[in-house]
Amino acid sequence: MLGSGSLRDKRETMNKEIQRLKAFDWRGYFGMVLDGVVRGIMAGLSAKELRAILRGDPPTERPNPRYKAMVKSFTLHLRPKYYQRASTWFTHTWRLGWFSVFFFVVETLTGIVLMVFYAPTPERAYGDMLTILSNVPFGQFMRDLHRLGAEGMVAVVVLHMVRVYFTASYKGERSFTWFTGMVLLLFTLVLSFSGYLLPWDQLAYWAVTIGTSMAEAAPPPAMGKAVNILLRGGVDIWAGGLLRFYLLHVFLLPLLAIIVISIHYYKVAREHSISLPAAVEEGEMEPEAKRHAVERIDLIPDLVIHEIMLASLASLLMVLAVATFYHAPMEAHADPQVTPLHTEAPWYFLWLQGLLKLGDKTLMGVVLPTVIFGVLFVVPWLDQNPHRMARKRPGAIIIGIISVILMIILTYMGTPGFGIETPPAQDILSHLVPATSPGPVKELPWDEVEAGPLDEAKGVHGKRTYFVSYPPDWEKQASYQNTEEFVFIKPEGQETKGLEADNEFLEILRHFKAEVENSPKLMPPVDDSAPLAKVTVEETQPGLKWAHFSITWDEMAVNDKDGTPLVFDSGDFKGQTKLKRETKAIPAPDVQEAKIGLHRDSFYGR
């Protein structure tokens, strides 16, 4: 039963309640709730504090909440509260350790995306790569980032080691940290190398074949063989080897790397911090300057903001490179039957390839590298000099400089052109038409490689012959006067009839001409039966040109053993030197050929 009196009472109470609510400090209340949420997420930092951080103001509370974050947050507890100012000098660390981790994160993120579209079987791998490049939005972008990050990571990790060596930051309590760093260097190299095989193209296949074959040289022979088979998963790299490299690359090595990175970094963050520059630690400095140099730089806000800036800036540069000029290479499908003339190791293993050219596979390919890495591992214990200043450890600095120079020389020696003699004709053609990469001719604009006159009925262009190097009187022969069908390539500076002066193919042909004519071993066929070098181009399907390069040459016959020229023992020419063709059952000059198809829409290098 509701009486009017009780309604009046209710009104009274409601009014009181409204007054009370009006008087309540809502602003303060919600501020408190919000503050709780922000602190909960931001490891104890209040919104006011964050504002102060961004404005560069001093901490808003006591004790400093910016130190509390390291206790409250899991991710931040890995980080130190502060570094001394001098250890954060850019010219001291070059942020190389930081960049190693940055690249590791980039690799993990892009790698996971790539894994979604890739299956590690010989039947699918290459096709999946093509799908990633042509059918997955951002597929090429991700792959290029992954590849660029991999190269960057190797470079940065190596430079980090060099920096630590030259600043002598491996001594005393940092000895073990150096050791874990060396483990990480090895991991980085193997991670990068194991990823090399996965695209399953020729470049990958042969680089890894050579790489694993070095394992075979490990003494004793039984072990070398076992290690090789363990790595390759068979006598040759095929399905088993691909799966093994894949598992190494996406599972085992990243897992181990995460563990060792944690150990490595934890020692830096919790045990001994980043080293001070030797000049600050040992040198004689003004007390004022020294006090300034060892001042604390807090992680929050200074270093965190700096790191976020570095991450953004590095991401920007990577993305810019990938969007404009940097593209990961992709060659033809892996083929055990087609050995490329030059197999190039990845650049960070060129020094090893250089070593191999110096001598025995076992000694140079296995023993010496093992010794080099072994010595690097124990550098902190070999170097008993307690000083860190460069002038107090001249021996170590000189050894370091010599090692770096040696590495650079070995890397140069490892490049394919160095010290390997290939038959000149094969070598010249392999530059024009490489077995594994597209090469200069495929990268030309399609129209520049001109075929012969148009066949109206079929709608394709006929055959055109480019005489690159030819007997001089051929040029005047009546049958070769049609410039649509026959072109005589003239050297630079002279007009070549039938081709525009700015034709890019002409430029390549001139280069070809110079190469064959300047090669002392290649003699034009003595009977003028064929031109020394020629190219024919024919459109065999609409949009598909067929280019046929050939070099026909004579050379002097030489004794296989000592390289002395062979001479006729008897007959009319007794005593005269022999041509190689005269040693054959059917006398004919040597011929080296290379043929390629060029399709209008294959878009190489464009």
Partner: protein
């Protein structure tokens, strides 16, 4: 310093987002868009043709001749009856002859490369590699050959690419060319493949003489279900069938007058029983033409209802279709 770093970081981040968005737009994610993805897909397909050409030179040119022109082994180029199955009956006659879907050149070529051919299917024309061993070796590693699936894919892509010779502007010519071959090669034994071609070449003959072929009678509209016995429709249908027979008779006689060639009398042709029984006219049009034949002859005589039989016209047709 902090503010400078915050600004640089923020601007870089904006840059990353902008560039990524630009890359995304460049990919041409929308279907049918001419973006990077579409271009890359085309590029890879044509690179496959390039390496197929190289492989053809290495493995196949020996027997099929340079540029697949044919030698000991049959040609595979645009003149070969493999291509342009989508242009119509008769063009991809080789696939039809082998009972393969005529639009699936790739599948036919790929399987033939993979498994090879035990015996030449046309020993009178092409001996093949070695008649004593195998007309064409099996190339797939699966069957003991040297080639991997990706290599056979490249090769097949190269052979299929001869289709580029038959662009839409040249459809007619290709069709005519295909028809001439079809008649030359297949007419005696398998007339059911060539009826359309006779028709096609007759049209060519008419045009060459500046004449117009007779107009085809219009079929009465198809009755609703259950109305097929409707007397009006039955009468119209009978009229139409008679018109059609007359039409074909005048079409072929006009063709002969124009210097063309009518199909041979089916009595003289000796169809291969298995093939003849299993292959009806083909396209929808052919079936319409075939109605004339079935109207005169009881169904199930075993003779296929093709325009060839139907179009021979008059009494000859009756005799022909009654022959079991």
């Amino acid at each position: 310093m902090t503010r400078v770093e915050i600004t640089i970081g923020f601007l870089s981040l904006l840059g990353v987002i902008a560039i990524t968005a630009a890359v995304g737009i460049g990919e041409g994610v929308k279907e049918g868009d001419n973006g990077r993805l579409a271009k890359a897909a085309l590029g890879f397909e044509k690179r496959s043709v390039e390496s197929g050409a190289q492989m053809f030179d290495q493995y196949c040119a020996n027997c099929h001749a340079f540029n697949a022109a044919g030698a000991n082994c049959p040609p595979l180029d645009e003149t070969s009856g493999l291509h342009g199955g989508d242009l119509g009956e008769g063009v991809a006659w080789r696939l039809e002859e082998m009972h393969w879907d005529r639009a699936d050149v790739y599948g036919y070529v790929y399987s033939t490369i993979a498994a090879g051919r035990m015996e030449s299917s046309r020993p009178d024309r092409y001996q093949g590699l070695d008649p004593k061993i195998m007309a064409m070796p099996a190339w797939s590693q699966q069957y003991g050959g040297p080639l991997r699936p990706d290599q056979m894919k490249d090769l097949a892509n190269y052979v299929v690419n001869f289709r580029a010779y038959l662009p839409s502007a040249k459809e007619e010519a290709a069709y005519e060319k295909g028809c001439r071959q079809v008649m030359e090669i297949m007419n005696p034994s398998r007339p059911q493949y060539v009826s359309k071609c006779y028709e096609k070449l007759c049209v060519v003959a008419y045009e060459a003489k500046g004449k117009t072929p007779p107009t085809m009678p219009e079929a009465p509209p198809k009755p609703a279900d259950g109305q097929e016995k409707d007397p009006a429709y039955v009468a119209a249908k009978a009229q139409y069938d008679a018109n059609l027979t007359r039409y074909w008779a005048s079409f072929w006689s006009g063709c002969k007058a124009a210097g063309g060639q009518a199909p041979p009398d089916p009595i003289t042709a000796t169809p291969l029983p298995a093939v003849a029984a299993s292959t009806p006219g083909g396209t929808g049009e052919a079936t319409v033409a075939g109605d004339a034949g079935t109207a005169e002859a009881p169904a199930g005589t075993g003779t296929p209802a093709t325009p060839a039989t139907a179009a021979a016209g008059g009494g000859a047709t009756a005799t022909a279709t009654k022959k079991p």
